[in-house]
Assembly symmetry: C2
Homo-oligomer: 238 residues x 2
């Protein structure tokens, strides 16, 4: 541990200069097969009591901001994502009515069916990303930047697969890409390119479906993904 840089007084922890408080906030993305979604929690205390907000909280002295984000997420939503991606710092002087608070923003990708909390008697709820309520603090701004970060990262990281179940069909994967990027792809070409890239592997499992021809099942191929990244870095693209 570091030497202490404060003096404990009757009024609290005293420093030579005023200090901002540090928090972390998390944007939890999910996908219901059609819409990109976000997990929000309803605030139980002032300020913004009753408003929806991103899960998050104050940094402790014995943890990094990543550890803080994981902890708050576990405490408030019981979610333990594989990874949190840090995408921005929000520090406008008046962003928090309690005083000077800056927040480090992360996003996480989860399979909705793997989330325990958030559907029982909890105060957490999934919202379609295109019909969000007005959120507490500057959380609407944070969410906007989270979407951009996701859009940016999907090209370089195996982002989509963390939002889907272990087995998924090609149309499901395509719909997710389309929602994240805000575009539409040709079905045949999307499939061809995905398979050619080696990031997906066809599974033998029989698909259960309803109403029409069922799609073949695929899974994410970590090995193939690694190879894709290598090749990409040597290419002439710029």
């Amino acid at each position: 541990m570091n030497k202490q840089d404060y003096i404990k007084t009757a009024e609290g922890y005293a420093y030579d200069y005023p200090r901002a408080a540090v928090t972390t906030d998390c944007v939890i993305f999910g996908f219901d097969g059609t819409q990109l979604q976000v997990l929000l929690i309803e605030r139980g205390v002032e300020p913004y009591k009753g408003h929806w907000a991103l899960p998050g909280g104050f940094l402790r002295m014995d943890e990094s901001v990543e550890e803080c984000a994981f902890r708050e997420l576990r405490e408030e939503t019981s979610i333990e994502p594989e990874m949190l991606e840090q995408f921005g710092v929000f520090s406008a002087v008046n962003r928090d009515p309690r005083g000077r608070v800056i927040t480090i923003a992360f996003y996480a990708l989860v399979r909705k069916e793997a989330v325990k909390g958030g559907d029982d008697a909890s105060d957490a709820r999934w919202f379609d990303i295109d019909s969000l309520p007005h959120l507490a603090f500057d959380h609407n701004d944070i969410l906007k930047e989270a979407r951009q970060a996701l859009k940016r990262d999907i090209h370089h990281q195996p982002v989509a697969f963390k939002l889907l179940a272990e087995h998924f069909t090609m149309p499901q994967l395509q719909r997710l890409y389309e929602r994240i990027l805000g575009v539409t792809f040709d079905r045949g070409n999307f499939r061809k390119k995905m398979i050619a890239s080696g990031v997906v592997r066809e599974e033998q499992t029989k698909p259960v479906y309803t109403g029409h021809r069922p799609g073949k099942l695929f899974s994410f191929n970590l090995f193939g993904y690694g190879k894709m990244k290598e090749d990409g870095s040597n290419s002439q693209e710029f």
Copy 2:
């Protein structure tokens, strides 16, 4: 202004909970025509007195982290870059011997010839990015991530042009891309693609050069760049 969230005591500013200090640090990239470079300053005080470090300093209560980064940069190096790109937060519990300090890291791109300070009797100096000294704090780690961020952003933002003089030759631009990305390109293809993309415009100015055939001069074409981005977002690339 916010209401005060501290109590001023004889020992300093007192808070209910202990707080980490917040700093910003800046990685200033430059390009000398051959090597990618970084501007560092020599620390005049403990800790790490005499060591080289990134310019940066403590967040004040009346500024955002962006404003803090700009201010510190101006104070320590006289540089006023067009923009600072935030790329990471470093918050390991023991990263600063003075106590609990987290830092928000930015990078900036500057034309070396436009930098006033840093070459007179100042304590700032340019270093080739591949022969850096051992830096103060965790600044070597920060620099490593800055390089990755630059590498990532060069595809989506007009990064390279901020490092070159207003007029530049195609081989100069190519060398810069090659240094940032760590690859080599075919000369003819690089040129073709750059011109076709519309991000550069040929200038009429006569080139001054020595030793061999001089390259034509180009400049960055903001309008063409904007168009490129639009098209890109509608494409089928994923």
